[in-house]
C-alpha cells in the first residue's frame, strides 16, 4: 500500500470526472488516486494506451452455496479450461463457473477490480463470505435474498411495516450483505409448497399468505428507500424468461413510483408476445423497456446480455430452472433453503441458430443500443447465466464495432433477427460510453463513491489497455492492472497476489426487532438464533459503506 505510482502519457477515460480521452498523468499514493506523486515514484509509460478506472461488475454469480453446487455439478466443464498456478498465484479451473481463485484472477485479468455476487441466501452468507475471502484481487460484496422470506412476509401481511423495515435492516446487517435482492417474489412458496407451481402475475396470491407479488415488491421498495441504502432494492422480476413478460416487467417498474429501484438482467424480462404460428417464440420487447428506463430517472438496470456458447443457469428462481431443464440435457439441481429461498441450476448452451437464443442475444444488444443514459443501463451478462464474464471483451466489441456486429448478425437465426429491432440500430459505443457502462455507471448505481472514477481520493483501482482497433483484443488483456495502488499485473503477468476487501452495509435498526425474530427461529429454523449472525472473522478485510442516514451523521 505504501508504494507510489505515476502513470504518464496515457489517454485517460474517467467519465465521472468529465475526462474523455485526454492525455494526462494519473498519480497514486497509499492506495488512493492522488494529485501528485513523489519524484521517486515508479513511472508507467502508457503511451499508446488507454487508462480507465478498474471495472465494476454490478451483477454476477461468483460465490456461495449455489455457485459451489454449480461448480461441483460440471467437472466436464472445467477440464479444458484449466488455470495453472504461478510462483505467486494459486491454480484453479475455469469453464462457465470457475473456482474462486480463477474467478478473482480472471476478473483482474480483464481489468475488473470490483464484482458483486447477486444472490445469496441469508443462511448461506457465511459460506459466501468464505468463498469471497478466497476470491483474490477484486473487492466484492453480495446481495442477500429477502424476497421470499417467510418471516418478512408475515410482518408485511400483518401490516407491521416498521418491524418489517427493522427486520430487513437486521437481515442485511447480520449477513454482511450489500443490498437486498428480490427474486421472483412469491415464487418459492408455490414451488416448494404447491407441487412445483409458480407465480404468473403480480396479482397472484402467494400460497398461504394474504399477499401478492405486487404488495411484496412495493413493501420492499418502500422499506429500502426508508433505510437509505447505497444501492436500492435489486429486483429479478416475476415471469423471467417467459414469452410476453415485458408486461410484467413494466408493471413492476411502475411500482417504484419515482423511488430508486434497480432491475437485474432486464434482457431476460424484455420478451414480447409470441410471434407468428409459434406459441412460445418471443418477439423483442427491448424498445418498450428501454423507453421506460430512458424516461424514468429513478430506474436503473443491468442488461444481462446473452452470449452464445456454454453457460450455466443458476438462479434463486427455481421454477425457471426446472422449466429450462428440458433444454439443458441430463442434469438439474434444485436446492431449497428453509424460510428463505429456492434455487435452481442447469448447465446450458446458447446456440446462434436457435430462434429463442438468437432473440435473447438480439434483445440484449438492442437494450444497450436503445439506452439513452449509459449511467442507468449498465453492463452485465448475469454471469454465468447469459454467458461467462470472460466474454465481456467480445460484448464490448459488439457494442463498439458495427461491422463486427453485422457479421455476427449474419450468422444467427434470421427469423429471430427479423422480429427484433437490431437491424435498425447502427449506433456504436464510444470508449467513454464503455467506461461508463462497465465502471463509472455501476459504481454510481452501487453508491461506491470511490470506485469507477480516478478523482483525487478515489481507490487506486486502475486498468491500462493497449489501444487496438480490435476492441475484443484490447479489452481481453490489459497491460497493467493496479489494485489499491499495487501493481498486480505488469506486462500481462501477475507480479503479486492480492486480497481485496468485502464491501458491505450495516443499516441501523431498532434492537427490539430481535425479540420478534428470535421466537420464529426457535420454531422454524434448524440453526439457533445466536448462531445465525455472521461475525467479523468472515470479513478480515472489509469496508462498510454508510447508508444515507449514517452518512449524514444521523442515528435513529
Amino acid at each position: 500500500m505504501g508504494s507510489s505510482l505515476r502513470i504518464v502519457n496515457g489517454r485517460v477515460y474517467d467519465p465521472a470526472n468529465g475526462v474523455d480521452g485526454e492525455v494526462r498523468d494519473v498519480c497514486i499514493r497509499d492506495g488512493k488516486i492522488a494529485a501528485d506523486a513523489p519524484p521517486d515514484a515508479k513511472r508507467i509509460d502508457a503511451a499508446g494506451m488507454v487508462v480507465m478506472p478498474g471495472g465494476v461488475d454490478i451483477h454476477c454469480h461468483i460465490a456461495g452455496p449455489k455457485v459451489n453446487l454449480a461448480r461441483k455439478v460440471q467437472p466436464e466443464d472445467h477440464r479444458y479450461d484449466v488455470h495453472p498456478r504461478t510462483r505467486v498465484t494459486r491454480s484453479g479451473t475455469g469453464g462457465s463457473v470457475p473456482s474462486t481463485f480463477a474467478t478473482g484472477y480472471r476478473y483482474a485479468g480483464l481489468g475488473y477490480t470490483t464484482a458483486m455476487e447477486a444472490a445469496v441466501t441469508p443462511l448461506g452468507a457465511r459460506h459466501a463470505l468464505e468463498e469471497l475471502h478466497d476470491t483474490p484481487v477484486i473487492d466484492k460484496g453480495f446481495y442477500v435474498l429477502v424476497g421470499n422470506n417467510v418471516l418478512l412476509y408475515r410482518l408485511l401481511q400483518e401490516g407491521r411495516l416498521e418491524e418489517f423495515r427493522n427486520a430487513l435492516a437486521w437481515w442485511i446487517k447480520v449477513t454482511k450483505a450489500y443490498a437486498p435482492k428480490l427474486v421472483n417474489p412469491g415464487g418459492d412458496e408455490l414451488w416448494k409448497g404447491q407441487r412445483n407451481a409458480n407465480i404468473t402475475s403480480l396479482d397472484d396470491k402467494i400460497g398461504p399468505f394474504e399477499l401478492t407479488p405486487r404488495k411484496v415488491i412495493a413493501g420492499f421498495i418502500e422499506a429500502a428507500t426508508a433505510l437509505g441504502l447505497p444501492h436500492p432494492v435489486h429486483i429479478h422480476c416475476n415471469n423471467l424468461g417467459h414469452t410476453g413478460n415485458v408486461a410484467t416487467t413494466l408493471e413492476t417498474m411502475r411500482l417504484a413510483e419515482g423511488r430508486r429501484t434497480h432491475f437485474a438482467h432486464v434482457q431476460f424480462n424484455s420478451y414480447g408476445p409470441a410471434a407468428g404460428k409459434s406459441q412460445t417464440n418471443p418477439t423483442s420487447g427491448a424498445r418498450e423497456i428501454a423507453e421506460f428506463v430512458n424516461t424514468h430517472p429513478n430506474i436503473s438496470a443491468d442488461v444481462g446480455a446473452v452470449m452464445f456458447g456454454r453457460s450455466t443457469i443458476m438462479t434463486g428462481d427455481a421454477p425457471l430452472a426446472y422449466m429450462l431443464r428440458q433444454f439443458g440435457g441430463t442434469k438439474w439441481v434444485n436446492a431449497d433453503t428453509e424460510n428463505e429461498s429456492g434455487c435452481g441450476i442447469v448447465p446450458f448452451t446458447y446456440q446462434d441458430r436457435v430462434y429463442t437464443n438468437a432473440m435473447q442475444w438480439a434483445v440484449g444488444l438492442e437494450l444497450f443500443l436503445l439506452s439513452q443514459d449509459p449511467w442507468r443501463m449498465v453492463f452485465s451478462t448475469d454471469h454465468p447465466n447469459g454467458g461467462s464474464f470472460v466474454t465481456y471483451p467480445r460484448l464490448i466489441r459488439l457494442l463498439m464495432d458495427r461491422e463486427f456486429r453485422k457479421a455476427r448478425m449474419a450468422e444467427v437465426n434470421q427469423k429471430a433477427l427479423d422480429r427484433s429491432g437490431l437491424r435498425d440500430l447502427s449506433r456504436e459505443y464510444s470508449l467513454n460510453e464503455i467506461a461508463i457502462v462497465t465502471r463509472a455507471g455501476p459504481a454510481r448505481l452501487l453508491g461506491l463513491t470511490r470506485k469507477g472514477q480516478l478523482g483525487v481520493g478515489a481507490d487506486a483501482d486502475v486498468t491500462i489497455y493497449e489501444e487496438d482497433p480490435d476492441k475484443e483484443k484490447m479489452f481481453s488483456a490489459p497491460r497493467y492492472v493496479i489494485k489499491d495502488g499495487e501493481l498486480i499485473i505488469e506486462d500481462h503477468e501477475f507480479r503479486v497476489d492480492h486480497e481485496g476487501r468485502l464491501l458491505h452495509v450495516a443499516p441501523d435498526f431498532d434492537p427490539g426487532i430481535e425479540q420478534v425474530i428470535e421466537p420464529f427461529f426457535e420454531d422454524f429454523y434448524t440453526i439457533r438464533f445466536a448462531n445465525y449472525a455472521v461475525d467479523d472473522r468472515y470479513a478480515p478485510h472489509h469496508e462498510i459503506i454508510p447508508t444515507a442516514p449514517q452518512a449524514a451523521g444521523a442515528r435513529p
Binding site: V73, Q74, P75, E76, D77, R79, G329, T330
Partner: protein
C-alpha cells in the same frame, strides 16, 4: 528402422507421457526423442531418463513406434493421436489413446483403466485384459466414445462403453458391471459374459452377449432373430483375431428392448443357447 523405446528405469510414481504419439515423434532422431518432456509425479523429466531410445522416426507423415517393458505406470500414451501406429510390448497405464481421433494402438499385454475415453476415431487393440471405463465418458460428461473401435481380447472392468455415441467396443472375455450404461448409440460385443446391470439407462445402441444374462426389470423381450448386421460384424471381429465361433456368427439372438426408464430404443442381443 522406426523409433523403439525400451523402459530402462521404471518410474516410481506415475509418469505422464502424452508426447508418445506418432505426430510428436515424427522426424525425430533417437537422441532428440530422448529429450522430449514427460511429467514424473510433479516434476518435468526427459523421456530418456526412463527409456532407452533407438532408431529414428519414420520419414514423411506419421509413422510407427514401439514401446517395450512394464509401462503400467506410464499414462496418456497415444492420447490425442490422429494417425500412425503404436505397438506396446508389455502392459500400459491409464488413459491409453484418450480422445484419439485416428491411427492405431496395439498392446501385447494389459491396459489399465480408461482405455480410449471419449475417442472419436482410430483403433485400439488390447491383447490382454483392460481395466474399468473402457471407451467411457469422463466423470460428469454424458458422452463417451464418439467413434472408432476398441478391441479387448481379455476381460474388462466396469462401465465399458459408458455413454458411447458411435463406434464399437468388442470384448473377447467377460465384461464387468454396467457395460453400456447410459449409451446413446454404437455397439458393444461381449463374447464372454456380461456383468450386472448392462445397458442401464441406455437410449439407443446395441449390446451383444453370447451368454445368458438376467437384465434389469426395465428391459422387455421383443423377438428372436438372426440379425444380418451382427453376422457381418462378428465376421470382422474374427478377422481381427477374436475367437468368434461359427455358432455365434450364424446363431439366433433374443432381442431385448430397453431401457424403459429412457427412450426404450436400445437393444440387448443374447445368443440363444
Amino acid at each position: 528402422m522406426s523409433l523403439a523405446f525400451t523402459l530402462r528405469t521404471p518410474p516410481t510414481v506415475p509418469l505422464e507421457a502424452e508426447v508418445l504419439t506418432p505426430a510428436r515423434l515424427a522426424g525425430l532422431s533417437a537422441p532428440e526423442a530422448a529429450k522430449l518432456s514427460v511429467v514424473h509425479g510433479n516434476e518435468r523429466a526427459d523421456l530418456g531418463e526412463f527409456f532407452q531410445v533407438q532408431g529414428t522416426a519414420d520419414g514423411g507423415g506419421a509413422g510407427e513406434f514401439r514401446l517395450t517393458g512394464d509401462l503400467s505406470r506410464v499414462k496418456h500414451v497415444g492420447a490425442g493421436m490422429a494417425d500412425g501406429r503404436i505397438v506396446i510390448h508389455g502392459s500400459v497405464g491409464m488413459h491409453l489413446g484418450a480422445e484419439m481421433t485416428g491411427g492405431e494402438i496395439i498392446v501385447e499385454g494389459d491396459a489399465a483403466d480408461w482405455v480410449g475415453p471419449e475417442m472419436t476415431g482410430g483403433r485400439i487393440v488390447i491383447k490382454g485384459n483392460a481395466g474399468h471405463m473402457v471407451g467411457a465418458a469422463s466423470r460428469g460428461s454424458a458422452v463417451g466414445v464418439r467413434g472408432g473401435e476398441i478391441v479387448v481380447f481379455g476381460n474388462t472392468g466396469n462401465e465399458a462403453g459408458h455413454g458411447m455415441r458411435r463406434g464399437l467396443v468388442a470384448i473377447g472375455g467377460d465384461a464387468g458391471d454396467f457395460a453400456g450404461v447410459s449409451m446413446l448409440a454404437g455397439t458393444i460385443v461381449v463374447l464372454g459374459s456380461l456383468g450386472w446391470r448392462a445397458g442401464a439407462g441406455m437410449r439407443r445402441g446395441s449390446i451383444v452377449t453370447m451368454h445368458p444374462v438376467e437384465l434389469l426389470p426395465t428391459f422387455s423381450y421383443a423377438c428372436t432373430y438372426a440379425p444380418l448386421y451382427l453376422r457381418l460384424l462378428l465376421a470382422r471381429l474374427r478377422r481381427l483375431g477374436l475367437p468368434v465361433a461359427d455358432a455365434q456368427v450364424s446363431g439366433r439372438y433374443q432381442r431385448w428392448s430397453g431401457d424403459a426408464v429412457e427412450l426404450n430404443k436400445g437393444e440387448v442381443l443374447i445368443l440363444e443357447a
